[in-house]
Amino acid sequence: MGTWHDYLKAEGTPPEWPYPIKFGEEKEVETDVLVLGGGIAGCWAAISAARNGAKVAIMEKADIRRSGSGGPGCDHWCNVPANPLSRVDPDEWAIQEMEDLGEYSNGIGIQIQCREDFDTLLEMEQMGGKIRDTDDEYLGVEGRDDETKFMISPRYSAKAGYGTHDDWRKPGFNPPETRNNVVIRIWGNGFKPLLKKECKKLGVEMYERVMATGLLNENGKQGGRVVGATGINVRTGEFLIVKAKAVIMSTGGGSGALWFMDMEHGGYDSSNASRNNSSGNIEMAWRAGAKLTMMEGSSQSRIGTGLKHKWYTGGADASYENVALVDANNKVLPTPTQGWADGGAMFSNNAAVRMDIKKRIEAGEFELPLYGDFAGMKPEEANATWNLMLTEEATTKIMVQTMTEAGFDYTKDQIMNYTYMELQPNDQYRTGRGGGLLVDWDLKSSLDGLYAAGGSMFSPSDHSYCAATGRYAGRKAAAYVKSVEPGAVCRKQIDAEKERVLAPAKRSGGMDWKELHFGLNRVMQYYAGGYRSEHLFDLALEEIKRIEENAVPELYALDPHKLMRCLEDLSMIEHAKLAILTMKERRVTSPALGVQRLDYPNADPEDQGKYLLVYQEDGETKFERIPIRFWGNMKEEYEKHNPDYAGVYKPEN
């Protein structure tokens, strides 16, 4: 009951599109700060801009209540070194994080996160978010502080930060008195509805089910100040034009589905990000003339075995980080830990460890399949993992509910893990890494009037990063709009965008969005896969060109929903092109960028230690290199740019 054909059989006719069709119709709105994307970063940006006195509007392609990668929840507030239980200095921890995250991390965003995400978390609590064990459900659980009732997480709890430790599980490893206490467990399933409620309370205009499609430059000139954006209603097809003094890009990042999409097996993006990350940020910024960086970065996906299981449904590889992995004979695997010994925190993200396990499986030392050993945990720890961590995290609350109803008992049972069964340590699939807008210390892009928050900027990080940078970008944009007059939008640019956006809806046959998507995936798999070379890149560019010349003009959308998917895939074509162009330009083999070049097996010393920027000027592709760590001294620069930072918001009543 409930399927489309059930309806057809019952009614004798297919259902009509349930929303009014308004293709071609326009709506025009004016605001101070326009936020594109109402996920975690976007909501925080809107709230912060509104609290700082700006008139704010959000464009969001779903309902803000549960939209975005963080819409369903979040169980960890990562990197909160400013919390009262922390044993590290926020500024020092920020440097440590920047180093741990590798050569091409984002020191600006990390510094903002480390300085401000505890304040952000306290503001979440003001809005009604649960951030402490106020109901005393987890008394005696390791990491719980009885005074503040904060639940410190085992995640990244060793002093050394990210990375793994050879002495994991040795007695006395990472004892309580030396833990850094930088990650707090939270009840994040409730957060997103509260953020929407706050937006409403603050008078933020919410344009929901409207997907942002393009930025508007002042007088329509590429590279000029950003003075608004356009969007399409994904239910009605109505075209929205918003004039704004500042725009905050917070539509998430480049698509995780650039290399693969396998709807038949695991939902149409088997990462934790759904279709939220659909490369809109990259494509919109690119067309407007903003500088992008890290577009050549890619990484191996470690989610489940290939595409078979979601993160949590049996795939212990990424997320059962405090549940030990055991073999079929209950022998504990030597996966490393980032946490404390008894918590068993593990994170099998180390290729050397994975290869070692693989060899030992082949030698018969470990027997498949593997299991996430909930039953082997102390009951109170298993309780916290199952009922707090997994229940509050994004897509796992439903797993907890479904499996509990089916009889799974976390005190007695172990969840099967599917890694290693297919010989390879499940790292054959690739995903984009870190590509996004270049930002400065105001989180402003290279264009006036355009800011970036959360996953839309280069080398972003997690939920609390998105929250803290959203809040920061909102504050900066609100300050900016006080100093500028509205800029002139250009009708010609609007008309061109409207024509581009509506084109697939004018056709009723030809190429459907899924085939286009699969075709693009294939290009990335073959020509930007494990081995790369200039010749392969050229073949990729040729094939993408053919897709653009032959498939795109035939792309069709039967309704506004399918039009949304078509437009997302068009963004992905731009993303793919930029990825290949920058991969070609960067003639190095670089583990930090996830690149193995057959034609340039060594790192080019000239190209080391630099970010490669890519942007358009008068329609021409330009490259530029700037040094890594271009942000300077993180503590000093942060303080220089935030002399008046007021800390936690003080509600008026």
Binding site: K61, G71, G267, G314, I398, M403, I415
Partner: protein
């Protein structure tokens, strides 16, 4: 008389990410609005269960189920290739989600 057979293309796979109980569903369309994907559309008949229009686009976030105001009206249904298995440690008995 035999039931009328319609000419329908192959259905999408997976096709039933959730199961809706028409006895319990009050047709409030909370799931239609909660779903960030627009997997559902409202039923043209007011008060009737929504129609699953884009089942294969589901990303299994589960919010339609966990936020449903009517207990039991909508249940999650992992597709066949995603049914988790688990083992009772003491007995070694292996189970699988139905």
């Amino acid at each position: 008389m035999a039931e009328k057979v319609y000419a329908i293309p192959n259905v999408q796979t997976p096709n039933v990410p959730v199961k809706i109980n028409p006895e319990k569903c009050i047709g409030c369309n909370n799931c239609v609005e909660t779903c960030q994907i627009d997997v559902f559309i409202p039923n043209p008949k007011k008060g009737c269960p929504p129609i699953i229009l884009h089942p294969e686009e589901c990303w299994y976030c589960g919010c339609c189920v966990t936020d449903c105001p009517t207990p039991g009206a909508i249940r999650f249904n992992y597709p066949l290739p995603l049914k988790p298995r688990w083992r009772t440690k003491e007995t070694g008995e292996i189970h699988q989600l139905n």
